[in-house]
Symmetry: C2
């Protein structure tokens, strides 16, 4: 069974590089959504956090050699389901971003670890796990 | 541009129903992964939380009429990017689950809001957003 997805927009920023992870990023930029999704953006509020799912569109293809990988800040190989590597069985990334503002079909955000022009697949509300 | 995904496993449980959201669920069950992904599971530990991405395989197709939807616990339509509806532009779901144990290619979890036999797309470590 195959599942076919289509981007709803893309990330846009002018940083030459981004941190390895959203949790250590202060990079600001935009999520530019296709105008057809304007009604879907109606309740996204400045100051809130959102979960952004995106396509790792510039990652190398996943092979059995990527089942375990050594993350940049670790000293041993770890199973890919326990790390945030962009080389995954399904190349979907997840970032938790802070909304700075919304204007028309553009969401201004802080915390980017996405490369410029990364395709966006979904936006969800950020819900804290209960203690 | 289209993105093609392939499940890495499926959810399995015997609950007749599941709560509307993982944050209010105590349902226990299994994530059964394809054995080829055994090495990718190596560092998933009991007691930890994991982020599970899955395919809403039994949701109706998304149409413009779904851009805003009234959630079961709200009294007005909201933009789909601000709610957890299973009817989304890209039918990908996200649950934060607690790992109870790992045996071979099966991860025992608590907090399920996935229907039995939902296809699993990815597992990631759960990382808290900085305060």
């Amino acid at each position: 069974m195959e599942i076919i997805l289509k981007p709803v927009g893309y990330a846009r920023h002018s940083s030459e590089s981004v941190p390895r992870h959203w949790s250590v990023s202060d990079v600001e930029g935009d999520l530019v959504l296709d105008p057809e999704y304007l009604p879907a953006m109606a309740d996204i509020e400045a100051g809130s956090r959102i979960v952004v799912l995106f396509h790792f569109d510039r990652s190398e293809p996943f092979t059995p050699g990527h089942l375990r990988q050594t993350p940049p800040h670790k000293d041993r190989p770890m199973g890919v389901f326990s790390i945030c590597s962009p080389v995954r069985p399904n190349p979907i990334g997840l970032s938790v971003l802070t909304v700075l503002g919304v204007a028309e079909n553009v969401i201004r955000v802080r915390g980017l670890d996405l490369l410029d022009h990364t395709p966006i697949l979904d936006i969800k509300p950020h819900i804290e796990a209960p203690a």
